[in-house]
Symmetry: C2
Subunit: 382 residues, 2 copies
């Protein structure tokens, strides 16, 4: 089996862009930056993979044409907030299957144009149509977590404090300022107990990477010790079992077990995690679902800075969705960029020391309330 | 490298369904039928791939949940009219990379609900916005073809006559009746010289297949001589060079060369083709672009029945898009179904005798008028 490596990565800063900064412009910016970082010219790229939700039909072809890559195979992947990671998955498959040596993977989204008031639920999602939208679900999750584990509101809010603190050092983050605990707990209430700073923002942005086989690395004159993509996992299923324990994320447990087995790693060896913190409580519940933090301990781990930079297991050194921003289709590839920068020691003020093994995790979509969610995992190591 | 085989296939009849027959219902119908044909139960399927254009976010997850496959990895692929074939591509990669042994691939579309008056051009496609829509382009292609090669209107119309004649024997076709040459040439004019019977219809439908490794075939107790997927190709680029010859489809030439090389076949050995005949003239021009019919001979080949059942190189024994119908995301997988049925001798009255090697071809989307189109190819053999 051929091995797959990240030869270069690039992003545009996440944020809210005016209508002249199109979806295509964001994607091209990230892609060109990743190609430059990888030392890849147009003639080197063999295929293009694009993850997005709201870019419209053949979005990847539009981006490829603007990149001067119009003749290549182009695939478009949609998997809601896991779209970027899902596009990485086919790119990874095309390398390990020996089909290509050098491919370009992009995640992109222009949300401010398309989903001004937030992402509307699917009409088939009757719970959501009647008010049980994602924010309500995570608010219930937070309440239940506080009740079951004696966690405080402040412990949950500390996820936002931590992730904003991290993103001060991320030049690609939508927000690059710290927030105080008081600011989080006293922010405008969205769904009790979650305030606006407990929620990831509406964002525009794009992130990209060049994936290579060993042959591809040689062809680009890149070192052979660049981060390897050990596995790109994907599972779907029920988000919460609901019957016995609202916060037992069966899907995260399965996603973790699959990722650790596929990458042949011991989860104890993971140095840091880029986690899908669409809401503060989600980071805690998902880290526990993955088995990386003991059940019920996530609030305390956060409050005692075990998941901060310099702690035992840093989570979201990039700032995560809460502070880097969350252009849905781009998020998975932004995690890939962060893993690459951290594992190559290029993360500056947010560098995780001696990072060698890292995990990225995205959660995309639900169907019928809590069913039909998808979780993607990316395991990368040097 | 692991080899990939089609273990079973299934379709719902293409046509115009009322709103109670949802996208999900069509997809589930095709998938359940393919699983039954392959002897695959829910527990056998390891991943689900869905190609579609208008199904909305996480459409594949909705379908998987209704199929009772809610926990599996699910990927959604969009590539306009090549969406079904693009989903087959990742499925094929996941088998040949050794990731899975048994996967389900679905192409589906409910068009009557979503695109009542036809598919609107992308706003970035300024030519189309100002009237140079797909039908106009193919009409110009037909006029040019008649001028350059001395082809008659009747020769072009014979593509529709032939494909309707074929689909009389296809229980899954939207139209199962013959049309006369006079009916085609005197039909309501859409874009001179093309009439309504030169154009593929708006359709709903779904088609699916179970893809397997050799291990997977054994696990399902299926014979080892089932059709092998030799290669699934994908290219994009300029639809017509335009500069020198309006009907020189560079993209088809490249798609063909790639497919023949990837599958290690001599194109002369191809027994029949399922071709993307979105318009009558398109079948002719694309067969020539692929190098399977000499330039300028396609009209005569059609008129003299060389591309009919019983001819030297049957094209669209299924009835093609013109008569089987064209639910855009489903078409690529409908071709896969036809290839499978033909190669296993199950095609009844439309059986191509001694069919051993076949090619499926889809063309999806354009960007900026003629750029950014995609062509998928599927080579299958027994």
């Amino acid at each position: 089996m051929t091995r797959a490596f990240v030869a270069g990565a690039g992003m545009v800063r996440f944020g809210k862009y005016d209508p002249t900064v199109t979806f295509e412009k964001l994607a091209v910016g990230a892609a060109a930056s990743a190609m430059k970082d990888a030392g890849a010219g147009r003639a080197n790229i063999e295929a293009v993979y694009l993850g997005h939700v709201f870019g419209g039909p053949v979005a990847g072809q539009r981006v490829a044409v603007e990149l001067g890559l119009g003749g290549l195979p182009v695939s478009n992947h949609e998997n809601y907030c896991a779209s970027g990671a899902t596009s990485l998955r086919e790119a990874w498959l095309s390398i390990i299957a020996g089909l290509y040596d050098i491919v370009l993977v992009i995640g992109a989204e222009k949300m401010t144009d398309r989903v001004k008031g937030g992402v509307a639920p699917d009409p088939s999602d009757l719970d959501a149509v009647h008010g049980f939208i994602m924010t309500a679900g995570h608010a219930m999750s937070a309440r239940r977590y506080m009740e079951d584990h004696g966690a405080s509101r402040e412990e949950i809010a500390m996820v936002a404090v931590k992730n904003h603190a991290h993103s001060r050092f991320n030049p690609y983050a939508q927000y690059q300022h710290a927030v105080t605990l008081e600011a989080v707990t006293s922010a405008r209430l969205i769904a009790d107990p979650l305030g606006v700073l407990d929620c990831s923002p509406i964002s525009d942005g794009a992130a990209a990477a060049v994936l290579c086989s060993e042959k591809g690395l040689t062809r680009l004159h890149r070192p052979s010790n660049l981060p390897e993509v050990r596995a790109v996992g994907l599972v779907s299923g029920t988000l919460r079992t609901g019957l016995y324990d609202f916060n037992e994320e069966d899907i995260s447990r399965r996603a973790g077990e699959l990722a650790y087995a596929a990458a042949a790693i011991d989860p104890k060896d993971i140095d840091f995690v880029e986690m899908h913190d669409c809401f503060t409580i989600a980071e805690i519940v998902r880290m526990e679902g993955l088995g990386l933090i003991p059940r019920g301990e996530g609030g305390r781990w956060t409050a005692t800075r075990r998941t901060s930079l310099g702690g035992a297991l840093p989570v979201n050194p990039s700032g995560g969705l809460l502070s880097r921003g969350h252009p849905v289709g781009a998020t998975g590839m932004a995690q890939v960029c962060e893993l690459y920068w951290q594992l190559t020691g290029q993360a500056g003020g947010r560098q995780v020391e001696n990072a060698r093994l890292a995990l990225g995790y995205c959660k995309g979509g639900t169907v019928n309330g809590t069913d039909g969610a998808s979780v993607s995992t990316v395991v990368m190591s040097t």
